[in-house]
């Protein structure tokens, strides 16, 4: 971190040599292979699919999972540092890795049958197959328990009907983890394959955020699958919610990466941009902004560092993840906007990253549990009272 961004509290000293090398590798990869492409993809609203096998080859997909599950067995802090570097590039890149690792590989690894693991995990880890995760529906976002997608038993098979909305990688996924309710109201997960009869997708266009990321709607019209397509080892909402905890962990790290990129850009710019008699970094108004930014960034770094070590020790709670996700999205959102302010008019062009990050963060602030829902989770934790319908 020391050479890669502000490290005001010497967090680098708490990282292992392996973790630092992993972060450096992810940093070098993103800066060399991804940054030259991002503006074009952002403008065209496309994702650089050619990079996916390279990400897999390096081990960036589900990297904290064990090797036999397609991961690399690295620490959760190392996993977080990878996502930090991916999101320093663009939230679209980090979102891709989050979905593949936390929302597809994780549930197959945790809840899948041996057959499902063998079939999907090696290729998902290698980046030669792509996955997506279908939980949110057009009318059920913060309230996934209300889902109307249904699975119905029919002999040895299941019949699935419903729609899933805001699905990252939906139309490019070879395998979709889709959550449904059965006739008894039990939430069940299925692995649907691209091209199954009745299973279609369409991309959502006109996004002004996360443009370098594929976002789709999934439709299931009497999709017939064998029972072997069902995730056998989980029932109930805890299935999808446990996946979200994994993904939110990565988001909390990623947001620090996006904020660091904005902050570094603003600091460098303020030292070079002269107005009146001196660089704008020499004026108190700019310094007040930078002081606030570096303080918030340091807080966010400490949150995710401690969260990562708790996860490594098996002690992390989902409420702790909510705190980090909630805080770090808000932190990054503020830092992106303040960085743009420091950049003045130049800040509205694609020559500088803060405005692109700012637009992206609007999605990240809202997806994987909105800022408001995480407030309610924390509120419930500290009061013992749920402020939403349970």
């Amino acid at each position: 971190m020391k050479e890669l961004g502000p490290d005001f509290y010497n967090i680098t000293d708490l990282l292992t040599e392996e973790e630092l090398l992993i972060q450096q590798t992810a940093h070098d990869f993103v800066q060399t292979e991804f940054m030259p492409l991002i503006n074009q993809h952002y403008e065209n609203a496309t994702f650089p699919m050619d990079l996916v096998p390279k990400l897999g080859e390096l081990g960036f997909m589900g990297s904290a999972l064990p090797e036999e599950s397609g991961g690399a067995g690295v620490s959760n802090v190392a996993y977080g540092l990878i996502l930090h570097e991916l999101e320093r590039g663009d939230s679209g890149l980090r979102s891709f890795a989050s979905v593949q690792g936390a929302l597809v590989m994780y549930p197959i690894h945790t809840y899948g049958s041996d057959e499902q693991k063998t079939k999907w995990l090696p290729e998902l880890g290698a980046g030669t197959k792509i996955g997506c995760f279908g939980l949110t529906e057009p009318n059920f976002g913060s309230n996934p328990g209300g889902m109307v997608t249904r699975c119905k038993r029919d002999g040895d098979d299941w019949i699935l009907n419903g729609n899933k909305m805001w699905i990252t990688n939906g139309s490019v996924a070879d395998v979709s983890v889709v959550w449904t309710r059965d006739e008894d109201g039990i939430v069940r997960g299925f692995l649907l394959e691209k091209g199954m009869e009745g299973f279609t997708s369409s991309d959502i266009h006109g996004k002004l955020s996360l443009r370098a990321s594929v976002t789709s709607e999934l439709s299931m019209a009497n999709v017939r699958v064998p029972d072997s397509a069902r995730l056998p080892n989980v029932e109930g909402l805890k299935g999808p919610l446990s996946c979200l905890t994994q993904a939110r962990f990565g988001i909390a790290w990623g947001m620090v990466g996006a904020a660091v990129d904005c902050y570094n850009t603003a600091v460098d710019y303020s030292k070079e941009r002269k107005q009146f008699s001196k660089p704008i970094a020499g004026f108190q108004l700019t310094q007040a902004k930078l002081a606030e930014m570096v303080t918030c960034l340091t807080e966010a770094q400490l949150l995710v560092y401690r969260l990562g070590r708790l996860k490594d020790e098996g002690k992390m709670t989902f409420q702790q993840v909510s705190m980090a996700k909630r805080n770090n999205c808000a932190m990054a959102r503020d830092i992106a906007r303040t960085s743009r302010e420091i950049l003045g008019a130049n800040g509205i062009t694609e020559d500088y990253s803060p405005l692109r990050h700012m637009a992206n963060i609007e999605s990240v602030y809202t997806y994987e549990g909105t800022h408001e829902m995480h407030s309610l989770i924390l509120g419930q934790e500290v009061t013992g009272m749920a402020a939403y319908d349970t």
Binding site: E3, E17, E18, L21, F29, G59, S63, E67, A72, A78
Partner: protein, 256 residues
């Protein structure tokens, strides 16, 4: 094919470079270090040669204080098979000959077919270590390689000369070759490689076992070039002024 790659750890290109209090080198605690970029190309070339030949061993070798083990481990993460660390706590940027003697004293027992180095280090930039080791060990030696081909017991090396010229030379093995930057695309260490590196051996050679020579060269002073601005107002009539301008153009600016 047994290949040694000499890897130096140098200040990173984005590191702050404050001078130490005696003005003899940078103030190390404030510096962030990285693998010398030219050595990264040498490492990649060694890995490619091993992969092409189909068997063999790549050994990452570095000399310096404890911190330089980091670049050895980075080499192991990228695919080197083992490491050799020569402990040396005094200044390592000063004297290529004594450093080459230290390396040679350790490397000679290993009987490497090939010793590869980057063309120079990004800090001191002396560019001599590989050549000196070749001489000390009686190896054939070439510099500035932009292409290598192993053929039986020989290596063909394409060297970059001045003014866009190249030269092919054929050397018998064993050989010490310095590698020009840019001849390949260094790989990233994969996470699997990084995780596997800790299981690979790094042989530690204590300072007392490799220092065979007194340093013959030391750095007296390191300084940042001072930029100065001097304005001369030329007085006198036109002839005097013209004569003075002519003199300046000849002796100071040296354009005439």
């Amino acid at each position: 094919m047994k290949i040694a790659v000499l890897i130096k750890q140098v200040p990173g290109s984005e590191s702050p470079l404050p001078l130490n209090s005696t003005q003899t080198w940078v103030d190390e605690p404030q510096v962030t270090y990285t693998m010398n970029p030219p050595d990264n190309y040498a490492l990649e070339e060694a890995l490619l040669i091993k992969e092409n030949v189909g068997d063999g061993e790549v050994v990452a070798v570095s000399l310096g204080p404890e911190r330089v083990k980091k670049v050895i481990r980075e080499g192991l993460a990228k695919g080197a098979d083992r490491g050799i660390y020569l402990e040396e706590n005094s200044q390592i940027e000063t004297d290529p000959l004594s450093i080459a003697r230290s390396f040679a004293s350790v490397l000679q027992d290993e009987n490497f077919d090939l010793i590869l180095t980057g063309l120079q280090s990004d800090d001191a930039g002396m560019g001599q270590t590989g050549v000196l080791i070749g001489e000390l060990l009686g190896l054939s030696t070439a510099t500035l390689a932009v292409q290598t081909n192993i053929q039986d017991e020989q290596i063909r090396v394409k060297r970059e000369l001045e003014s866009g010229w190249f030269q092919w030379v054929k050397l018998p093995l064993p050989a010490s070759i310095s590698i020009q930057s840019g001849l390949n695309t260094p790989r990233y260490p994969s996470l699997k490689g990084i995780m596997g590196a800790k299981k690979k051996e790094i042989r530690v050679i204590p300072a007392s076992e490799h220092q065979t020579a007194e340093k013959t060269q030391t750095i007296k002073k390191v300084f940042v070039p001072q930029t100065t601005k001097k304005t001369e107002v030329i007085e006198g009539n036109a002839d005097t002024a013209a004569a003075r301008i002519l003199e300046i153009l000849k002796s100071d600016v040296k354009v005439l």
